[in-house]
Symmetry: none
Subunit: 229 residues, 2 copies
């Protein structure tokens, strides 16, 4: 299920579009106020952003370049009444993947969004061939949600597996709360952060048989999986 951020101040168009997109099984967050976008993006991981260029108090182009700075890999589409050629070109030069002129045809917008999303699946970083990864005296089999240790095997739950995978992928490097939560939970709020702590405890318990493996906390930042070489 894809998650879309729709930034549109116009009540009726915004409502129409978000309903259309929801009909297509998309998870839509509709934000009317451009100034809140950066904050929302700290809390959520989106697959695509649809951005109205002309909004009160907000320059859509400026907002787009802010987004691009902080989240360079999230594609965005401009929506605008500005059909001046120079603006279209500006939109693309900012990195837009599409640019639609008002009046917007909802069905066409949805078709375009679906086209872009289906391309994501093809080009997205190849599903990493999950072999069995050795870690200390353990072997981690992420495909089968298992942790093997000297003959006996420990079953991991889905969350435990994802979290351990994330930590292993960044072995010996700090994984920020934010990245972990956005990557695994999809959003970053107070409760999920509590949940993360619980799973860290679980993983520590699972990994305690090899004392050279440690999941260390970096106060206020996140966690590091350290493995003695």
């Amino acid at each position: 299920m894809y998650k879309i951020l729709l930034v549109e101040d116009d009540e009726s168009l915004g409502y129409l579009l978000s309903e259309y997109l929801k009909m297509k099984q998309l998870d839509v967050v509709w934000e009317k106020n451009g100034t809140k976008v950066m904050a929302i993006m700290e809390q959520n991981l989106f697959d695509l952003i649809v951005l109205d260029v002309m909004m009160p108090h907000t320059d859509g182009f400026a907002l787009a370049s802010q987004i691009k700075d902080k989240h360079p890999n999230i594609p965005f589409i401009f929506l605008t009444a500005k059909s001046l050629k120079i603006d279209v070109l500006k939109g693309f030069s900012l990195g837009a993947i599409d640019y639609l002129k008002k009046p917007i045809d909802e069905e066409e917008l949805v078709a375009r969004i679906m086209a872009h999303l289906s391309r994501l699946e093809k080009t997205s970083p190849v599903p990493p061939q999950d072999d069995i990864i050795p870690i200390g005296t353990y072997d981690f089999d992420s495909r089968n949600h298992m942790l093997l240790h000297k003959g006996d095997s420990i079953r991991l739950t889905a969350r435990e597996t994802e979290l351990l995978k994330h930590l292993i992928q960044h072995k010996n490097n700090l994984c920020s709360h934010k990245d972990i939560l956005l990557g695994i939970w999809g959003n970053n709020d107070y409760f999920n952060r509590k949940s993360l702590n619980v799973f860290i405890t679980h993983l520590r318990k699972h990994l305690e048989k090899d004392p050279t493996i440690k999941i260390e906390n970096v106060h206020g930042r996140g966690f590091i999986l350290k493995v003695g070489h």
Copy 2:
């Protein structure tokens, strides 16, 4: 260098577009006859196809689905005078990644093509940036909040890390109280200045194993991190 197939029967538009695309360093093959397309594709590997829907003797939609059958991974863009909504939707349902209505603006088409092509490139995973800075016999790993010294590692707190980073960035140069406090604490008052002193002490303690590293005070001004060559 990307290779583009342009299928367009109209002489003047075809010429214009192919010249524009060549100007962008693209390798363009311009074919006027839709019936020859499949044969050409046997001989060449294209990154993108631009396809006019309305051509004599050829139904662009039918051609597109033939292409898609044989080469499912090559993206294509429709060019057409048919601006009927039903046709636009048909275009996308056939798997088009874009659909432009005539009259075509060459620059916009080029911008859209470039946008699509640049998305192709974005497949590289994570740029593992190493920002470990050597300082004397230490190595400072600011990302992980660590100071490494001959095998063992010292964990730094958030403030310690920021302060050391600031000092290192201005190695051998005076860092004024004011700049440090404004840069790290955000404001420069009596109490934060006291705090700064405490952290300077912490850093001195952490760095004491290399006597060539000194954090010197400049009375009434600030601090200098001095590192023996």
